[in-house]
């Protein structure tokens, strides 16, 4: 072990890997994700209705189920490209999480073709964050 510790390569390896981990952790902590938005984005891009529906609050989910199948039209916007949601920090009020400012970006071949900026309504139900409006 002493032989290993005496090797300069060991210390270079150690510090580089530590810095890489710190960079990754720090970057992640600085930009915490919102799971429901990531899930919604994935659901939309993969065309999975169940995933998309599960992003909404239980009340909205019940309404959606009552309305029946959402149909393929839901995924029209992601047929030709991909939806990328860029968002900021969650907005909180007295009742908890209330929304998030976000860009809804429609990409085709990795290039943005359309972008909308809006505040997405969120709601916290039983400690879980959901999209509160369809």
């Amino acid at each position: 072990m002493k032989r290993v510790l005496k090797q300069p390569a060991f210390w270079v390896t150690f510090f580089c890997l530590v810095l890489a981990v710190c960079t990754a952790v720090g970057s992640s902590l600085m930009n915490p994700g919102i799971a429901v938005l990531d899930k919604f984005e994935k659901g939309m891009n993969k065309g999975k209705t169940a995933t998309v529906v599960s992003c909404f609050t239980p009340d909205v989910q019940a309404e959606m189920k009552a309305l029946g199948e959402l149909g393929d039209s839901l995924f029209d916007i992601t047929d030709a490209g991909k939806l990328n949601i860029l968002y900021g920090d969650v907005i909180k009020d007295e009742e908890g999480v209330s929304g998030v400012q976000a860009f809804l970006i429609y990409n085709q071949d990795g290039q943005c073709t359309e972008a909308d900026y809006e505040e997405i309504d969120l709601e916290e139900v039983g400690g879980k964050v959901y999209l509160s409006a369809y």
């Binding site: 290993v4 390569a9 810095l19 900021g88 970006i105 943005c112």
Partner: protein, 675 residues
């Protein structure tokens, strides 16, 4: 036939005579007393209204019940304020002299309103004595019976006269107005108009705004030919006499009229007032000029000019009217609006062909004795360019720099006022914090950095001004979070603004998609801009930025910055692009170097060394042991040798011949030993 005609004539005569007799009876028996009124008006419009009530003895005996002394005792307490009374009796005729004395028409009006117990009565007394009008004009909307109603009530309520005879207590006798040496008879409600006037077609009041607080004034009086024919010499003498000192009076001929122009080029508000008083021949003319800049935009200086002009020199009560037009000529960068309060902006006038450069604001016939003009004058430093620079720091905060370049350079006092106005808006300097404010104002040239108004949302705001290449520009720097900037802009511009940024969150992505949006309005900061004004917008983007989408048509990315121009006095931009993330690059560099170092380490540790290679030292150890069997080495020494053998080879690497200790070359093949 003839008798029939005669009968008809007789019948008609009888009807007429009967009617006349009835009228005689009615007038003769309708009232117990007669009121004769004389309104005396003096030259200064003070005067008295005398009402003499005469009651004959027979009437008194017939209708009056009780004692006259008792009634007079009640009169003392009942006579209303403003009226006096006196009782006399001669040859059985009883007389009450009632009087209202007044010092002015206003005083008279107040007293009458008090006697009648009403809020307002119509009462006009005018006695113009000018070249345009002379004589007396009196109009009243009440009569003596109304003024003496209190006395009638006193008689009836106290049983001196039966209530059935109440209506017959007073009857109006003669009513006359005395002014100077003339006496004018009138009806029960006084209405006298004995004004001799010559008309004036119009008066044009022209104001030239040289600068705030400095005005040129021209008054043009249009006198019709008929008036000039009637009183030409008198009019000329009069008009020449009203020209104030320092002003110029000129006669000229117009289309069917004679024009007299009085003009002065440079007047302060006080001098303008004196000018008006002289020209309109009345002390009841006033001019005020109030600084209203605190209500205006920082690059604008406001003045509220109000003029009250008495036209009585040209009017006689309600018996004449005059056309008065008001026009304004503004110096460059000046604006004028009709305004009731010095804040609101009303009519801005329209070009008046008759006077080049003047805008007509008002042109009406005036029947009142005065006219008021209220104008909000603005001196505006037009903005010729606005540069907006938005940077986002690594920590996520924003730095926005707004540079307003002005068309003209304000003087030092105005520069300080602009900076101070912006600081007050931003909450850096408060109007109520005078001591602190003065310090802030003093430091305005170099910029003062303090917190904005809201304690919980504080953006650092800095305001400064400088002149560069003969262009004066005011720079506002805002630093803080998006919310703090929003609040700061609300205070500064009284407008809603927003800025928001987001980018991909996956830390390992070197090429990230980023987006931001910014909306800016500047309220009244850009109320006055030059032709071709535009907002030059710059936003700092990420490393190796590549624009994919932008709402601004003029947008382009150059040198890592987004450039766009806006011509509609506001900024509204949404950008989407890609950038290279330095942190992601660092992550990958650290990871790559770490992995490579790890491999090197493993190689050095011999993890990847072939198994045959360690054979040479082992063999050498055996041979060495055989070559020196005589040596009685200790185990320790062997270990030391073994260690040495790892670094110094004991055999020739080419031919394998054993290498004697200290030999530099192989004894067999002659190869040089490396170590």
């Amino acid at each position: 036939m003839r008798s029939t005609l005669a009968e008809k004539i007789m019948h008609r005569v009888a009807i007429v005579c009967g009617a006349l007799f009835m009228i005689f009876l009615m007038t003769g028996c309708s009232a117990g007393s007669t009121i004769d009124t004389t309104l005396v008006i003096n030259g200064d419009l003070s005067g008295t209204r005398q009402m003499n009530i005469t009651i004959s003895d027979s009437v008194f005996q017939e209708y009056f019940t009780g004692n006259i002394e008792d009634f007079n005792a009640l009169m003392d307490g009942a006579c209303p304020e403003g009226m006096t009374w006196n009782y006399s009796e001669e040859n059985g005729v009883k007389q009450y002299d009632m009087e209202i004395a007044f010092s002015s028409p206003e005083d008279y009006k107040t007293k009458v309103e008090n006697i009648l117990g009403v809020e307002s009565v119509d009462l006009t007394i005018a006695a113009p004595d000018t070249v345009w009008a002379s004589g007396i004009s009196v109009e009243e909307s009440f009569n003596d019976k109304q003024l003496l109603k209190w006395m009638e009530d006193l008689l009836v309520n106290n049983g001196f006269v039966s209530s059935s005879n109440a209506d017959m207590i007073f009857s109006v006798g003669t009513v006359c107005v005395v002014y100077g040496n003339e006496t004018y008879s009138t009806g029960s409600m006084i209405s006298v108009s004995q004004v001799d006037y010559v008309s004036v077609d119009a008066i044009h009041i022209l104001t030239q705004i040289n600068e705030l607080g400095n005005y040129g004034r021209r008054v043009v009086v249009q006198i019709p030919a008929s008036s000039m024919e009637k009183k030409g010499d008198e009019i000329k003498a009069y008009m020449d006499s009203v020209v104030p000192k320092g002003a110029k009076g000129e006669w000229s001929e117009g289309d069917g009229c004679t024009l007299f122009t009085v003009s002065a080029d440079s007047l302060t508000a006080e001098q303008l007032e004196a000018f008006n008083r002289s020209v309109f021949d009345s002390e009841n003319c006033s001019v005020t000029a109030a600084d209203m800049s605190e209500n205006s935009a920082p690059f604008t200086f406001d003045e509220y000019l109000t003029e009250h002009i008495d036209l009585t020199g040209y009017l006689a009560g309600n018996y004449s009217s005059i056309r008065v037009a008001y026009a304004i000529k503004k110096a460059d960068s000046y604006y004028a609006y009709e305004s009731r309060d010095g804040i609101s902006k009303g009519y801005t006038g329209q070009p008046w062909e008759q006077y080049s450069g003047y805008d007509l604001y008002s042109d009406s016939y005036y029947y009142d004795s005065f006219v008021d003009f209220s104008t909000l004058i603005q001196k505006a430093y037009r903005v010729k360019e606005l540069e907006v620079k938005t940077d986002r720091t690594l920590g996520g905060d924003w730095k926005r720099t707004l540079t307003f370049s002005l068309e003209k350079t304000p003087d030092e006092e105005e520069q300080a006022a602009m900076t101070e106005a912006l600081e007050v808006r931003a909450g850096i300097a408060g109007a109520e914090e005078q001591p602190a404010e003065s310090e802030s104002a003093a430091g305005a040239e170099t910029g003062t950095e303090t917190d904005a108004e809201e304690p919980e949302k504080k953006a650092d705001v800095k305001v400064s001004g400088k002149t560069s290449d003969d262009v004066y520009s005011v720079t506002i720097t805002q630093k803080g979070s998006g919310e703090e900037l929003e609040e700061s802009s609300r205070l500064l511009f009284d407008a809603k603004t927003s800025v928001f940024y987001a980018c991909d969150r996956e830390f390992w992505k070197v090429k990230k998609q980023e987006a931001f949006t910014e909306t800016l309005s500047f309220g009244n900061m850009l109320e006055y801009v030059t032709d071709g004004f535009q907002v030059n917008y710059t936003a700092k983007l990420g490393l190796f930025a590549d624009m994919q989408y932008c709402t601004a048509d003029s947008a382009e990315v150059k040198g890592g910055k987004l450039h766009a121009t806006f011509s509609n006095n506001r900024v509204n931009i949404t950008y989407v692009g890609s950038k290279i993330d330095v942190i992601a690059i660092l992550f990958w560099i650290f990871l790559a170097v770490g992995v490579i170092s790890l491999l090197v380490l493993l190689v050095k540790l011999g993890v990847f060394r072939k198994k045959e290679k360690p054979a040479a030292p082992a063999e050498a150890s055996v041979v060495n042991a055989e070559a020196a069997p005589a040596e009685q080495s200790t185990v320790k020494e062997e270990a030391a040798e073994a260690k040495e053998e790892k670094t110094v080879s004991k055999f020739c690497e080419k031919c394998g011949t054993p290498r004697p200790e200290g030999a530099k070359f192989c004894e067999k093949c002659g190869s040089k030993f490396e170590d």
